[in-house]
Amino acid sequence: MMQRIFLYIDGSPAAHRAGAWVIRQAKEWRSRIYVLAVVDTAAIAAAARRTRRPRSKLRGEWEEIGWRNLYEIEDDAFEAEVKVSLIMEEGSSLQRIAELAKSYEADLVVVGYDPKVDLDKLAARCPCSLAVIK
């Protein structure tokens, strides 16, 4: 039984659909959702080079967006009466998903489909089943 579902969100439409799917499933399975947002340091570094804006400023903006995404999902989960925990992390998204899914003993990891993400790599690192929502 999927008691602990680990949802990674990045603000994308696919992640939003993944969130809706997870909440529906969690309600049916009576699971707890752990929602993860990651301030991806490599992406920030690339954006800083591209935009010539300070990393610290970009980091603050991206973290706030991450928290907004987390609280949006939390509010939806609350309306559905689904138990939820929020996690904000920093680093490599792929790495943090796998590490935290292991740390929290996730039964299922759910992500929104992103063509830039190496799903084979994520699946290989995941300690449990992986669902990708388009």
Partner: protein, 152 residues
């Protein structure tokens, strides 16, 4: 959106919470807002806050908790702050007690402002310097000043 430092009034700040347990802490902070007439129905308000506490941990780690709810019992977004030297168990995922507690309530139809306020506050409170300054502040006015400076 109003700044966090503008939403937080001096009289809604407790430098040392008397309560030692999560639910009682929430009641203690809510009482500040009730006494000022900012909450129409204390019962409805508590139901909303406690319902959320039963479903999730509002402890976000690093010694911080942000109990929050949208409810018909408030007309505007309101904020209270309390500090506990001993720490309160808010079931944070990092297992640490919460020493800084921010209570947020918003009207049901102000979801955007509510989410934005939660996000901004959560982001600010991940700064070690800010948390340390809040822990060592000597007066409610200093709490507000520290937050205002962190907001930039």
């Amino acid at each position: 959106m109003e700044r966090i430092s503008e939403l937080l009034a001096r009289e809604n700040i407790l430098l040392e919470l008397r309560s030692k347990e999560k639910i009682e802490v929430i009641r203690e902070l809510a009482q500040l807002l009730i006494d000022k007439g900012l909450i129409d129905s204390a019962d409805d308000f508590f139901k909303a806050i406690l319902k959320r506490e039963n479903l999730e941990s509002t402890g976000i780690g690093h010694g911080v908790a942000i109990p929050h709810a949208r409810t018909k019992s408030v007309k505007n977004l309101i904020l209270a702050f309390g500090r506990s030297e001993a720490g309160i168990d808010f079931s944070s995922l990092d297992g640490k007690p919460s020493h800084l507690v921010f209570l947020i309530a918003a009207p049901e139809d102000q979801k955007s402002e509510y989410i934005l306020t939660l996000a901004r506050l959560s982001k600010l409170l991940r700064q070690d310097d800010l948390r340390n300054q809040l822990l060592s502040a000597q007066a409610p006015a200093e709490i507000i000043t520290v937050i205002s400076k962190a907001e930039g």
